[in-house]
């Protein structure tokens, strides 16, 4: 099995605080890999390092063998490393259709086209429309994003990432804040992701993690605590201690 994404001895300091502590992580191609850990364990910082929002203080990151540690955010996206955000990061003043069209056009290297009207490439619009249909957003695709209900916005968050045709997809708590009755839409979407796309899932919801992931890494205090198969982790006393501790004040 080939390696999709790997970090080697990754460190990130904020002033005196060490948010990421010598993390070495290997994710195989096509994996459904979950990253769990209590609040403040450094999961989101790790994602920010992987996607280039932050620059590591030390260590390196490779994507399919290529060292991407110093690459800009958008260069990583163009290489197929795409993420979603824990808190929705959408284009509030644009419609879902516009957002999706833009993402598709950017993927096709046409974002700098300053002459033709946006959406004049029919293939791109069709693809955007197809994704919107798949995510159940077809009906609201002309509305302004800021007025969409939260559940729809959460779907759009994922749809935007999908439009970038990821090879490695980092999902930061995709179901966060979504009411119970709408969760299934998201779970269905995740389940339907193509098998050759590598998925890294950061999640608190253990049901979702156990139903989706085939491998789990546990983070505590910025460092990797342990890693293993689903059953292995479920039985791990260390993990249970961390989580029982956490659930104690939740």
């Amino acid at each position: 099995m080939s390696i999709a994404l790997a970090t080697h001895d990754l460190v990130k300091n904020f002033g005196g605080l060490r948010a990421t502590d010598h993390v070495s992580l290997t994710i195989h191609t096509g994996a459904r890999h979950a990253l769990i850990g209590p609040n403040g364990a450094g999961k989101t910082t790790l994602i920010n390092l992987l996607t280039g929002v932050l620059t590591p203080s030390q260590g390196n990151i490779t994507l399919e063998g290529e060292n991407i540690t110093r690459l800009s955010q958008h260069a990583r996206v163009q290489r197929g490393l795409v993420r979603t955000f824990q808190i929705n990061q959408l284009f509030a003043d644009m419609s879902p259709l516009q957002s999706l069209c833009l993402a598709v056009s950017e993927r096709n290297q046409q974002g700098r086209d300053w002459w033709r009207v946006a959406g004049s490439d029919k293939a791109h619009v069709d693809e955007a429309e197809e994704i919107l249909t798949r995510f159940g957003l077809r009906d609201v695709m002309m509305q302004q994003t800021r007025f969409l209900p939260y559940g729809k916005q959460r779907l759009l968050e994922i749809a935007l990432a999908i439009a970038c045709k990821p090879r490695v997809l980092l999902l930061d708590e995709p179901a966060a804040g979504v009411p119970e009755e709408e969760r299934h839409e998201i779970i269905d979407i995740l389940a339907a992701l193509p098998k050759d796309v590598t998925v890294v899932l950061i999640e608190h919801d253990m049901d979702l993690v156990f139903s989706f992931a085939d491998r789990i890494s546990v983070m505590v205090n910025g460092a990797l605590l342990t890693e293993g198969g689903v059953d292995e982790i479920a039985r791990d006393p260390q993990v249970r201690a961390v989580y029982l501790g956490e659930s104690g004040h939740e």
Binding site: H74, F91, W114, A118, G119, S120, A163
Partner: protein, 328 residues
């Protein structure tokens, strides 16, 4: 039948009848009020200047309090050309656009980091330094006395600038219209869409593969070129350039003009220029000494009442008059 998504995307850039009306009436005013041609050409130039600011503020999200830097650079470029025997107006515009764009490109890199306030001050600082520089280089720029001895040739070799300002207005209006079309083309393109994305959410824009800094540099450079052309127009139609073109109050005025008219839509700057300049001219005619007070009062009221509410007011008024007819 519901329109296809493709059609809906294209519809957003459709030319509307009200736009034709707007441009036709802007041409017609010259014949209705020929004595006001000078004022109109000043409005057209201010409109172009505000349009250029809108490109970075309304579409790029960069707050600038130093946009006069490019206006001034363009004015001096065109003025110096005309002074040294190259008085062809279009050549002057081209050179002004180029020089302003180069300076815009060079300084854009200073604006990629920092908050609104930081950008405000960096742009302000650049403009102030250019002002001092122009003041210092008196042998070239004429310093505080202004540039003397400009000889501007006729437009296209055919239409020379007259005392009544007719040529000036038609020339300025044509340039404004063409550049407006270009700007319109750009903001409705994929590039324009990506700018909206960058302005709306730079973090996410990066996450869908947009090079945020690349886009900002591009639009800032373009905006500088537009402002440079506005400056060149001003230099050519008034046949004078003085330090005033780089002054702080010019940056502040254009910001006011744009905000009054509405940020983030291309007509905003032009309409702001119309309202601001007419209001200023009118008030200054009534009370040459204290018109600033009334402008101030208008600004304060505008903010307190809210520009949106004024828009809605006009809208509901028109709707009541015309029934539901015009609303599409």
């Amino acid at each position: 039948m519901a329109p296809s998504a493709h059609q809906m995307m294209l519809d957003q850039a459709r030319w509307r009848w009200s736009e034709s009306l707007f441009w036709l009436s802007s041409l017609a005013v010259l014949f209705v009020f020929p004595s006001k041609a000078l004022l109109f050409s000043q409005i057209a130039i201010m409109g172009l200047f505000a349009l250029s600011l809108d490109l970075i503020l309304g579409y790029g999200g960069i707050v600038s309090l130093g946009h006069a830097a490019f206006f001034g650079v363009g004015a001096y470029a065109a003025g110096l050309m005309a002074k040294h025997g190259m008085g062809d107006p279009l050549l002057g515009l081209g050179v002004a656009a180029f020089v302003a764009a180069v300076i815009g490109w060079l300084t854009s890199f200073l604006l990629l980091r920092g908050s609104d306030l930081t950008r405000l001050m960096v742009t302000l600082g650049i403009a102030l330094m250019l002002f001092e520089l122009a003041n210092r280089m008196a042998p070239i720029t004429g310093g505080a006395d202004g540039l003397q001895g400009m000889m501007v040739g006729p437009v296209l070799g055919l239409f020379s600038f007259d005392l009544f300002g007719k040529t000036a207005y038609l020339y300025a209006l044509t340039v404004l219209f063409l550049l407006f079309l270009l700007a319109r083309k750009i903001v409705h393109s994929t590039f324009g869409l990506s700018l909206r994305a960058v302005k709306g959410n730079a973090l996410r824009a990066g996450a869908i593969g947009i090079s945020v800094s690349g886009r900002l540099v591009a639009i800032y450079t373009l905006s500088a070129a537009f402002a440079g052309i506005a400056g060149a127009l001003s230099a050519q139609t008034t046949q004078l350039v003085s330090l005033d073109v780089l002054d702080f109050h010019r940056s502040a005025d254009v910001m006011l003009v744009l905000v009054i008219g509405g940020v983030g839509w291309l007509y905003g700057g032009i309409i702001g220029a119309i309202m601001f300049t007419l209001m200023q001219d009118w008030l200054a005619g009534i009370t040459p000494q204290y018109w600033e007070f009334w402008i101030g009062l208008v600004l304060v009221c505008l903010v307190l009442v809210g520009h949106d509410r004024i828009k809605t007011g006009v809208q509901s008024m028109v709707a009541r008059l015309g029934g539901k007819g015009g609303a599409a």
